[in-house]
Every structure is written in structure tokens, then in C-alpha cells.
């Protein structure tokens, strides 16, 4: 737990410029809301299935112990779920905390695309949710940026979606709902090709059904038994994916591709890189397309968001580990409106000013397609 160094305030009172890499818009009424953005036949199919009812399914044992993954204090005054009103989100998150840009990532789309919808359904729903958010959210405020989703069960359709929508000036990344296929696998390569072509980084984030259903990544060793067990192990897919991306040669095949791991944590990176580097030096010849140390690929191509910041009992321990990692890897994120969000005024206060500026602005600015 952080020791208060001064009277506590979650707001950003300094002149620090901030890009928030992880904000979750919630489409009120879910699938029903995006009916106007899909062909009539698909709309009729979803109406007949009562599809909007099933899009929130989560087993009892993974429900949040306090009853809500969303902050109840972030509910819009006009009613509805936290994160469902773009006007209120701009006030409550951006203006209160002096955040210049927020990268929106819709987990409803992500969970439908990774798991909850069938392949063909996911292709239609993904486009409909993307179009809804472009139409109803990005028009509200230019500070709202968007990591457009792709229907990852169909890599070709995903690539087509990137090319269809990816030129929008407020789209700054491609949100890729992961499956239980490691990220270096050639299954994903059509998506990487399209993202590189459009100069968009790939953003990955837990979509919701992870470690619950067959389909998305599953925590190592088996299925966890509670919310807290699952929460702690969700980072494991990030570790496996970094390893896979490098040794499969993705960054040789797509030399301009960038990937940002959002909400997977980052303190595991340092020992992972030491292990990858050591093993590469010993057995490089098995993967001769990996021409440089894995450390170099990761520093050049991969970034990690900061939230949820771990909280060692001695806060300076965190600062020391970040110093060891280097300051070019991290991008600040809040995860608003989720319960475990970090606000800029309370985050990484012990770091030197110049390094803090890299993490809160520079690294994200050079990773996302900001223009």
C-alpha cells in the first residue's frame, strides 16, 4: 500500500501530460445498441436468439467478490453502467485527471470476438461495435482515441476489418482479442500484416473469458478456483506471448510491427528477458531467424501498460525494478472505470520527472498512431 507523502488526492495536479492507454467504453444495452450497424438478417438472428442476454455470461466463481468490476462511483448521473456515457467519461476521467488522450478498448467486443460469439457472428458483431463506437463515441471528443477490435477467430476477416476502418484518424491501435494460440503462431500473421500496413500497433488485453472458457488464453497449470486466483495469474499469457513473438520471428517478418501488452503487468519482464537472452545465446541455431538478442527485439517492438501497478511494502522497490527494466518500456494506463484503476496523480510518484514523462506520454505517443 502506498504511503502518503502528501495529502492524498487521486488527481493529477502537476503539469504532466498524460496518455491513458487503457479505458473501457461500455456500450449500453450491448448487442441491441449496435443493431443499426449490422445487416437486417443478422439483426433478426440476434433478436430471435435473445443474444443480448447471453453476452454477459460469467460463471459464479469468477464474479467480483464485491459484486462489480466497475467502480460504482463512476456511474453516469443520467444512469447506466460505469463507462457507458462518453460525455461523463470525458469529465470524470479526462478533465478531472488532466489526461490529454484516452485509448478506448471495448471489452464487450473483445469477449464476443474471442469466445462468446461464433466465428461468423463475431465478424458481424465486431464491425457493428466498431462502427457504433466510431459514430457515437469518437465524435464526442477528439481526445478519445480508439483501439478498434478485430474478430480474431477469423484472421482474414480481421485483416479486412483493419483495412476497412483503420484509416480513421482517431483509431490509434488494433485491439486483438487473444485466443489460446500463442502470438508468434502464423495463424495471426495476416492480422500483423494488415496492422503494419496501416501503421497501427497491436494492443492485447484480457477480454474477460480468459482462464474461464476454452477459446481464450488459459492460466498455466489449470483453471483457477476464485476471482483472486484468476486475477493474479492472468499475466501469464503475456509472458508466454512475448516469448512466442520473439522466437517465432514475428519482428523479423514484420519489422515495423509494434505490440503493446495492456494490463498484463510488467514486473515479470526482467527475469523473462534474462531467461530468453541466456537461452538464445546457448541455442540460437534452433531459431536462426532470431538475429539479435531477444532483449533488443522487445525493447524495439513491445511496450507494456502500467496498471495494475504492483505495490511492494517498500514503494521504492518498485522504482528500483523499473530502473533496472529501463524507462522506454512502459506506458501509463488507468483501466477506468474498473475497480483496480490507477490514477495519474497517485502513480509512480517516486520516479524522476524526465522518466515519468516518458512513461506518461512519450512512450505511448511513439507507440500508438497519434497524429
Amino acid at each position: 500500500m502506498d504511503l502518503p507523502e502528501q495529502p492524498q488526492n487521486s488527481r493529477n495536479s502537476s503539469s504532466l501530460k498524460v496518455i491513458d492507454c487503457d479505458v473501457h467504453p461500455y456500450v449500453k444495452d450491448g448487442i441491441k445498441s449496435v443493431f443499426p450497424y449490422m445487416p437486417e438478417a443478422w439483426k433478426q438472428r440476434f433478436i430471435r436468439k435473445n443474444a443480448h442476454v447471453s453476452s454477459h455470461a460469467r460463471p459464479l466463481k469468477y464474479e467480483h467478490p464485491n459484486g462489480n468490476v466497475n467502480r460504482v462511483d463512476a456511474r453516469p448521473p443520467c444512469g447506466g453502467i460505469s463507462g457507458s456515457d462518453p460525455h461523463f467519461l470525458v469529465k470524470d476521467l479526462l478533465e478531472k485527471n488532466k489526461i490529454q488522450h484516452a485509448v478506448l478498448n471495448c471489452l464487450q467486443t473483445g469477449s464476443l470476438c474471442s469466445t462468446l460469439a461464433g466465428t461468423d457472428e463475431s465478424v458481424v458483431l465486431c464491425s457493428a461495435f466498431n462502427d457504433f463506437l466510431v459514430d457515437q463515441w469518437l465524435t464526442v471528443d477528439n481526445r478519445l482515441k480508439f483501439a478498434m477490435s478485430v474478430p480474431s477467430q477469423d484472421p482474414q476477416a480481421s485483416a479486412a476489418e483493419i483495412r476497412r476502418l483503420g484509416k480513421h484518424p482517431q483509431i490509434v491501435a488494433v485491439s486483438l482479442p487473444l485466443l489460446n494460440i500463442l502470438m508468434g503462431n502464423r495463424y495471426w500473421w495476416p492480422i500483423y500484416a494488415a496492422a503494419q500496413e496501416m501503421d497501427l500497433p497491436i494492443l492485447v488485453h484480457v477480454t474477460g473469458p480468459d482462464s474461464i472458457f476454452y477459446g481464450p488464453p488459459i492460466s498455466a497449470g489449470g483453471i483457477p478456483d476464485s476471482y483472486v486466483e484468476r486475477y493474479v495469474t492472468l499475466c501469464q499469457a503475456g509472458e508466454s506471448s512475448v516469448n512466442s513473438l520473439v522466437f517465432s520471428g514475428v519482428f523479423e517478418k514484420f519489422p515495423r510491427l509494434k505490440v503493446i501488452f495492456v494490463e498484463y503487468g510488467f514486473l515479470w519482464l526482467l527475469p523473462l528477458l534474462w531467461r530468453m537472452d541466456r537461452t538464445w545465446r546457448q541455442l540460437r541455431h534452433e531459431v536462426p531467424w532470431v538475429k539479435k538478442s531477444p532483449v533488443e527485439y522487445v525493447h524495439k517492438h513491445i511496450r507494456f501498460s502500467t496498471q495494475p501497478l504492483d505495490e511492494p511494502r517498500e514503494p521504492k522497490d518498485l522504482d528500483k525494478l523499473i530502473e533496472l527494466m529501463g524507462y522506454d518500456q512502459l506506458c501509463f494506463s488507468t483501466d477506468y472505470p474498473h475497480w483496480d484503476n490507477d490514477m495519474p496523480g497517485q502513480s509512480l510518484r517516486g520516479l524522476p520527472k524526465a522518466e515519468r514523462e516518458k512513461i506518461f506520454w512519450d512512450n505511448a505517443y511513439s507507440t500508438f498512431r497519434m497524429r
Partner: protein, 122 residues
């Protein structure tokens, strides 16, 4: 030099329902007034000592006391304030985080009832 304390009437008893944390403003600061089951009142600064969340917008509850594996024992109903962000549980008697060592606690103000009105000393 410490500032002089003052007594501020924040409302009548009926304004503060049991089991809720009702937020009032005192000198520009938000303070949550909680009426406990035993009829006592608490006044809590609406700022979580962990990360600054509006802690009084959480909920008042009991909790599961530490116990044997696989067994739940619910106790202290109505005596615990749960932060709406990171879920820290605070003891409304002491302001401390319960069942763990913590360097921080809730900022609480003395509160009393005078002629049916709730008076906070700040």
C-alpha cells in the same frame, strides 16, 4: 500553529439513514456521515488513504473474519466501510484497514448528536 477546531452542524438525525455513508461538504472537504447499527455516528473524510478514491461512495458491510480453510464466519455487520475502487476494508471504529498491517488509516472526525442534530468537529 494548529488551527482552531470548530463544530459544524451537518444535518438532522433523519438525514442520515442507518447503514449508509451520506456525503456532506464541510469547508470544501467532502465528509461521509455514517450511522451505525448501534446508533453511533462516524464522520469520515471522503478520500481513501490508499489511492485517493471517494471511499464514502463505497458501501458499509460486515466481513469474513480470518478462519479455518473452507469455512466462512461473517461478523461485524455494519461496522466496515469498503472502498469502491480497490476494495480495502476499513474499520469504522478505528479507521484502520482490517486484518492486515497497514501504514494508513481513514481520516475520521469527532461527531456527536446535539438536540437531534449531527455535529462534526473539524
Amino acid at each position: 500553529m494548529s488551527k482552531e477546531k470548530k463544530h459544524v452542524t451537518v444535518g438532522k438525525i433523519a438525514d442520515f439513514p442507518e447503514g449508509k455513508c451520506t456525503i456532506v461538504e464541510i469547508d470544501g472537504r467532502e465528509v461521509g456521515i455514517a450511522r451505525l447499527k448501534n446508533g453511533e455516528y462516524r464522520a469520515v473524510r471522503n478520500q481513501c488513504p490508499h489511492k485517493g478514491a471517494p471511499v464514502c461512495k463505497g458501501f458499509i458491510s460486515g466481513t469474513m473474519v480470518p478462519g479455518a480453510v473452507g469455512e466462512l464466519v461473517y461478523a461485524r455487520d455494519g461496522e466496515i466501510l469498503v472502498c469502491p475502487w480497490h476494495g480495502y476494508e476499513f474499520d469504522l471504529d478505528t479507521g484502520a484497514v482490517i486484518y492486515q498491517e497497514s501504514p494508513v488509516k481513514l481520516l475520521m472526525y469527532p461527531v456527536e448528536i446535539r438536540n437531534g442534530e449531527v455535529v462534526v468537529t473539524v
